[in-house]
Symmetry: C2
Subunit: 346 residues, 2 copies
């Protein structure tokens, strides 16, 4: 796009409601909007009645949390939902009916045919139709598709096998605190009873704790990731398998991906495609043994991508191995939601 000499019109301030404002994603939504200069008017922080009155850091100082109710969305332009699927099912249609653009971080509507599931760098064109209710993807699906889309666009991905290294933040702020507290107890030689997660988390890892589908043997997280990757990439026939594992890392998800393309593909091609891809940062320095790490992905908008190599188990040269790390609370949640809202209000 050529640079335009015309002045950008000052956008009208927008009134924003955040449902689930006291959670880990809620806090990041506020921080993301401030950092990105979102044209914020009134900010309404909503949560369960037991959090009402609690003060959170707002853009202009402390702001009291209000109890979520049927009238919470009056006068609001945008509503971010980050409070779980049942709250979204109950209140998101209400917010949309009251005129809000609704960006829902829960799984409630993601697989509905008439709900766009959007990663702006991948399928942001779906926002051109000005939908009122947009689903924000599962964190693994969002992080994976940012890096898969530039490959899929040039050489369709036909099969994808993923193993994840997922952070505490995906289970919420309480899980992040439990990781710290249980690790401190372990180091002090003190007992610790897990309250948030079903297994000891200190210096341990475990299969993602969503229920196992007795038909397939896949857990709920894996099932979501597989379906959402297909929907976001617009690849309903993609053959995909994920193993989702929780590791003792606070807030960035990593994953090892095995990506089979329709035609032969080289690491050099993939590196060039990813170097140009929006939302991706290459960290692929073989000589220095420097690759994506969650500690470096944390707090960053970009998904880090590296370990790009031709998969030696595929003699046809159609398969690429890739390692990613992305901030679960940013590209995996709040940042993607704010990007969706920005695209819709601009």
């Amino acid at each position: 796009m050529p640079a335009s000499p015309a002045a950008t019109p000052t956008p009208r301030p927008l009134n924003v409601a955040i449902v689930g404002a006291t959670g880990a994603v809620g806090a990041e939504l506020i921080a993301c909007m401030q950092r990105r200069g979102f044209p914020l008017g009134v900010l309404r922080l909503l949560a369960s009645p037991r959090s009402a009155g609690r003060l959170l850091d707002g853009p202009h100082g402390p702001l009291a949390v209000e109890a979520l109710g049927e009238n919470s969305f009056e006068g609001m332009d945008v509503a971010f939902f980050a409070a779980g699927a049942s709250i979204s099912r109950q209140f998101a249609p209400l917010a949309a009916a009251q005129g809000c653009i609704v960006v829902d971080n829960s799984s409630a509507f993601r697989m509905e045919d008439d709900t766009p599931l959007v990663v702006p760098e991948v399928n942001g064109a779906l926002l051109d139709g000005r939908p009122r209710l947009i689903a924000n993807p599962n964190c693994v699906a969002a992080i994976a598709t940012v890096a898969l889309a530039p490959i899929h666009a040039r050489n369709p991905v036909v099969r994808l096998i993923g193993a994840t290294y997922q952070a505490a933040s995906g289970a919420g702020a309480a899980a992040m605190a439990e990781l710290e507290a249980s690790t401190a107890a372990h180091l002090a030689g003190e007992p610790f009873e897990p309250k948030v997660l079903p297994h000891p988390y200190a210096f341990n890892l475990f299969s993602h704790n969503t229920a196992i589908d007795p038909e397939t043997g896949y857990n709920g997280e894996e099932t979501k990731v597989m379906a959402e990757v297909r929907k976001i990439l617009g690849a309903p026939d993609l053959r995909v398998s994920f193993t989702c594992v929780r590791v003792p890392v606070p807030r960035a998800h990593s994953m090892a991906l095995t990506i089979e393309c329709e035609r032969p593909v080289t690491p050099a091609e993939v590196e060039a495609w990813l170097a140009d891809a929006p939302g991706v940062r290459l960290v692929n320095d073989a000589a220095a043994n420097r690759f994506p790490m969650p500690i470096e992905a944390s707090g960053r908008d970009e998904v880090l991508a590296g370990r790009i190599r031709s998969d030696l188990s595929d003699p046809d040269g159609r398969t690429i191995s890739l390692f990613l790390a992305g901030d679960q609370l940013l590209k995996g949640a709040a940042l993607n939601a704010v990007q969706i809202a920005e695209a819709l209000v601009n």
Copy 2:
């Protein structure tokens, strides 16, 4: 095997040398022999000259470490090497020439055609020829093949894709200490400079820090694992790819395996094969969401196996997904070495 009424002959006590006695594997070798009732005569603890004189816990009280030298193996029956490849290259042939059975935990001889690379449950028959120098496999290869062999024996594995979650112990006792110390510093908000590992380890993970092969893009650990899995399974044509990742866990390795067989295979078949397999313990309780975890594999002889399911990315039903956790210092090192020695001296 029917119970035999004949008395077992009391085995002659065997004199054992441990090279690298001050390391993490060295300590486990001593503990393993004691726990398993290895018929131990003289125990000679060997290490670099700077450790000479240090006292370690022996079976009959404190025992002084001796400096490794050319005459260290006189009068010894068995020599365990756990001090790195260059020490093994220099001293293992010497020990064998002096009449020792040598079990070498380093990578020095593993891929030599005339050196058996042994996991007793998998290819213990190679010990029937009474070799003098036996290579103990890489920890990932040993843990993986214990669970792969029972499948491969019934329905040959033709392709294997693995992503690992590797513990600190694989980098030695100093790395285990660095995991603890750096995590304590992180929790206290204090700076920490990594000395053993190349990256911050507290609440972080990183691609295995062995050098990257510029030809293939695979690191040294992955290259070893892939070659050794082929050799141990006796499957030189197995197509295999691994991504090896270090996670902040002290001493048990986990891995997600995608196992493609020659013919269709069901999860029920694999579960039955693994339930009967020596060295494997099923932890596959979908209803309770209870699967292999490093915290439960630590200190155990068996490799834990679970998450057994038909891989949804393979429409032909020939691919199984599996998750394993095994103690890196036991089946991944010391236990396997002691099992090899037991088989040879019985």
